[in-house]
């Protein structure tokens, strides 16, 4: 019985540790824009444009970038909350929603999401326990088992079940609500959790507690995280690998230390220099970047960063840079024509 409640949805680790848990290839999503009732011309927002990456088992991939760069759209595409225009996803060796692969329903059991707005992500008319138990009952777990499991999970995320199980979301603080969201995500025994700005709305001390809880849970349950954030401190703390996005594309990806200590892309450098210093004597006088990102409806040909790049060359305006390894490592990749010459 106990065994059953603990493993009811879990799919086993099939590919072994070397198999990436999630492999995303050429993911693409253009949103059509209507410009007027009678306009024939169709325009598209290039929200996510040929994004490819992989997440290793038990690791955390941090995704950073300014707002509007496609971080959240990427997350929703992976969760299939919106359907991609094209692209392929492989979950632990199985193609997602394709012939001979893993069905959407089974894929979703392995993947859960925690959203930024802790209030909007809880149904105000359900008690905390009902919210957590809802998913498992949908998948056929008995009400009694689901409720018992919900209480265990509440206990695990640090909320006294006796006190909180029968409460409603509006009676909880932001941090407590986010803990409930985490408990709900864990109710399916998922292997991959997408944390979409999950701690962005919390104040610093609560943020730290929730981050530590997430780290503990990751170790305990061999979870893999996709950690989306605009807060570079938090990303540095949480991630094993970091992926930087700009205007719907991946511009740089690599191990967290390499990205933070030795960024190769000028955009990553600008992002990192925007981190406020701990030393009050050090003041940033000049903004690291000028201007706004270009309109995603008509991204410039060539490198998308060309208009804001401090070291732009003629080549950048003509040819689109490919993701290439930096130096001799293949895990640190960057999409910049100039990265190579400056590193060698």
């Amino acid at each position: 019985m106990m065994e059953h409640t603990n493993t009811f949805l879990n799919s086993e680790d099939r590919g072994g540790p070397a198999q990436p848990l999630l492999l995303v290839k050429d993911l693409k999503k253009y949103f059509p824009v209507r410009n007027g009732l009678f306009s024939r011309e169709k325009k598209f927002v290039h929200a996510v444009d040929n994004v490819s990456f992989s997440v290793a088992k038990g690791k955390t991939l941090g995704i950073v970038g300014e707002s509007g760069c496609g971080k959240s759209t990427t997350a929703k595409l992976i969760a299939r909350l919106i359907n991609p225009d094209s692209g392929k996803m492989v979950f632990d060796g199985d193609g997602v929603v394709e012939y001979g692969g893993i069905a959407l329903k089974d894929f979703r059991k392995n993947l859960q999401m925690v959203f930024q707005d802790s209030f909007a992500s809880l149904n105000p008319r359900l008690t905390i326990e009902q919210t957590i138990a809802y998913g498992p009952t949908v998948h056929g777990v008995s009400k009694l088992d689901a409720s018992k499991q919900a209480k265990d999970l509440l206990e695990r995320v640090g909320l006294e079940p006796e006190q909180f199980a029968n409460r409603y979301p509006h009676e909880l603080s932001g941090g407590q609500r986010q803990r409930v969201n985490i408990a709900r995500a864990l109710a399916y025994q998922p292997r991959l959790i997408i944390l979409d700005e999950a701690v962005a709305a919390l104040d610093k001390s609560v943020q730290a507690q929730v981050l530590n809880l997430l780290q503990e849970l990751k170790r305990e349950r061999q979870l893999t995280y996709l950690f989306i954030s605009h807060d570079l401190h938090v990303v540095h703390y949480m991630s094993d690998e970091v992926m930087v996005m700009y205007l719907g594309q991946v511009v740089e990806k690599g191990p967290v230390d390499l990205i933070f200590n030795n960024p190769a892309h000028p955009y990553t450098k600008a992002l990192l220099s925007a981190i406020p210093s701990m030393d009050p004597g050090k003041k940033t006088l000049k903004p690291p970047l000028e201007g706004d990102p270009p309109n995603p409806i008509n991204p410039p040909s060539g490198c998308r960063f060309q208009d804001r790049c401090p070291v732009v060359k003629e080549l950048c305006r003509n040819a689109t840079p490919e993701l290439k390894g930096v130096g001799d490592t293949s895990d640190h990749i960057v999409a910049c024509h100039l990265a190579e010459e400056r590193h060698i």
Binding site: A79, K105, R108, M113, N123, P124, R125, Y134, H139, H170
Partner: protein, 294 residues
């Protein structure tokens, strides 16, 4: 170091009650709503038990006692143009008037919420088709629409109920649709979709409960409109037929007495006014009681 010898009381965890329980508790702080509810209760009881409570026969006319003033012995609220007891007729008339107020709104609530949920949840083409068809109804002023439909169907109680229902359906669908569209975009619906549950289950568990409240409040506000429209239909001869007592109809037949016995002639109107005000204030009270913020 001082020894902590204070008896720490064990924290008492209050069991949280359901949402509607909280609303009811909030409603106790709305004196106007409580008074309105009381007035409505008295009116409903008076209408419901009219055969036992009424002092006279509502159809018994008397040529000798025509248009007796208010406070006459034996006729507390006077008599109408055919000498029938006003109090009795007002009590009996309350039955039809309240039915005409409540039944169309209730049926429109059921039909409208269903349509609005479908349109709002599915969105896209389905939404377009449902909402544009209802816009045709919406284009007419509601009085005109009610008169036109019941004129086409012919006079009678059931026909006016149908006409009024048709008048209110588009309005309720609009509210239900817009609330559903808002709720549908919230993260907890996405979280429910992530759990792989079916659309039906999402609508039932996550959307319905959150849509019903605002639509309910809106519908309560329509009760008074429905009563007034129904009275209007009866006044125009499209609703209930004489000698059946109904407030709107009574207002019509007493019209001729407006110059010599204005208070008697105004009585049915006064009852329509009080009832609709009470419905409106109750709706307002429920609205603010339901506004439980975080």
């Amino acid at each position: 170091m001082m020894k902590d010898n204070i008896d720490h009381p064990q924290p008492q965890y209050q069991k949280t009650k359901g949402y509607w329980h909280a609303v009811l508790r909030q409603l106790k702080n709305e004196p106007l709503a409580i008074i309105s509810a009381g007035i409505l209760l008295v009116l409903i009881i008076a209408a419901l038990f009219a055969p036992w409570l009424a002092p006279a026969d509502p159809f018994k006319a008397s040529m000798l006692k025509r248009l007796m003033p208010i406070g006459s012995p034996g006729n507390l609220l006077g008599t109408d143009e055919l000498g029938r007891d006003m109090l009795t007729r007002l009590m009996y008339g309350g039955r039809l008037s309240l039915i005409m107020g409540i039944v169309p709104v209730f049926s429109a609530f059921c039909i409208g919420t269903t349509l609005g949920l479908i349109a709002g949840y599915l969105g896209g083409r389905v939404n377009m088709v449902i909402m544009r068809i209802l816009d045709i109804f919406y284009a007419f002023p509601s009085v005109l629409l009610a008169v036109a439909i019941s004129g086409a169907l012919g006079p009678g109680l059931s026909n006016s109920l149908i006409a009024l229902t048709l008048v209110f359906v588009p309005q309720i669908v609009r509210v239900a649709e817009s609330v559903t569209t808002q709720v549908r975009q919230l993260d907890y619906i996405e979280a429910a979709r992530m759990s792989g549950s079916s659309n039906l289950s999402i609508i039932r568990v996550h959307i319905l409960a959150n849509v019903l409240g605002p639509v309910f409040v809106y519908a309560t506000g329509l009760l008074s409109v429905s009563m007034i429209l129904a009275s209007g239909l009866s006044f125009l001869g499209l609703g209930v037929k004489p000698p059946e007592p109904e407030w709107g109809l009574m207002l019509n037949t007493l019209r001729s007495a407006i110059y010599n016995k204005p208070y008697i002639a105004a009585l049915p109107g006064g009852f329509i006014f009080i009832t609709s005000i009470a419905f409106n204030l109750l709706a307002d009270g429920i609205r603010s009681a339901m506004d439980i913020k975080k």
